[in-house]
């Protein structure tokens, strides 16, 4: 796994420099302008709405991410591993729930299990919560005091291995190594 030392931000009093701020604005501008192009199409007149929208999106994105301990950096190789996993699990999840409700008698044994996530980055946690709901038979119902309440369609089996696997994949996506803290 490639580990880039230059991506590690300095801890403590980290004042954003001017070039850092410009690159933050620039990447957001590219991203949001691209999204607008996809949504609105290539008609130049659409930018009458699009330009203010993109500017507001940049501002709110900067505002929402201010005070974050470190910038969001996605690892491309990890993304290439996560996407097929996610697609495959989505299909499995859909087939699983369809098979349960299409029986003459609905086959469920619902209940809750608790899981303590080790992911650190807020965006990673959000992705983890959302991905849990797309895995077969699990739904992230609550996150409180660092504990995720997972609702399961079949509570008899232990969900921990599957959740750990998902968490590791998402951790790699955000450059967080979770292997060493495995229980």
């Amino acid at each position: 796994m490639p580990v880039s030392a230059s991506n590690q931000p300095t801890q403590g009093a980290h004042r954003p420099t001017l070039s850092h701020a410009i690159s933050q604005i620039f990447t957001r501008a590219i991203l949001f302008a691209g999204l607008w192009l996809v949504i609105a199409g290539s008609d130049p007149a659409s930018w009458i709405i699009g330009l203010p929208t993109v500017l507001l999106a940049i501002l709110s994105s900067l505002w929402l991410s201010s005070g974050r301990p470190r910038p969001l950096g996605l690892r491309l190789t990890a993304l290439l591993r996560f996407l097929p996993f996610f697609a495959f699990e989505s299909v499995r999840g859909g087939i699983d729930v369809a098979a349960r409700v299409l029986r003459p008698k609905v086959k469920i044994n619902p209940g809750f299990q608790r899981y303590q996530p080790r992911l650190d980055h807020p965006a990673a946690r959000v992705l983890f919560l959302d991905s849990i709901s797309l895995l077969p038979g699990t739904l992230s119902a609550d996150l409180r005091d660092g504990i995720i309440e997972v609702h399961a369609l079949d509570v008899t089996s232990d969900l921990t291995p599957e959740l750990q696997r998902l968490e590791r994949l998402i951790g790699r996506l955000f450059g967080e190594k979770l292997e060493e803290v495995r229980v």
Binding site: L35, L37, V38, I39, G41, S42, S90, V91, G93, G94, I95, D96, V97, A98, R100, V101, L102, V106, I108, P110, V126, L129, D130, S131, S133, L134, P136, G137, L139, S140, A141, D142, L143, E149, H151, L153
Partner: protein, 104 residues
């Protein structure tokens, strides 16, 4: 293989994907009706409907007139995935804590 056969093959694949997508939408709706409580119903909605939409968008993808249009279809899917999963989490959270506005 001629152009007509390729077009036919694409159409057949599209139809199969769209039928599969419709199946999962129906399964999701059936789950909403048959499952006993709010949490299990959310399972059916998030999973079956997301897969259903994904398959239908995949069926439409070869027929997209422009690249931008194809990108729009994929973007739609991503946005619905995020919206669906986040919405399900928020509904489940309110139901679990019992502090929703319309909870008695």
């Amino acid at each position: 293989m001629g152009e007509a056969q390729i077009a036919l093959a694409i159409n057949v694949i599209s139809i199969l994907l769209a039928v599969a997508g419709t199946f999962f939408f129906i399964a999701g709706t059936l789950g909403l009706l048959r499952l006993p409580d709010i949490f299990t119903r959310l399972h059916a909605l998030t999973k079956a409907d997301n897969l259903g939409l994904g398959l239908i968008l995949l069926a439409l993808l070869p027929h997209a007139p422009t690249l931008l249009y194809g990108a729009k279809l994929l973007l739609l899917w991503v946005l619905v995935l995020i919206g669906g999963a986040t919405g399900a989490h928020l509904i489940a959270k309110r139901a679990l804590r019992g502090d929703g506005e319309d909870m008695l």
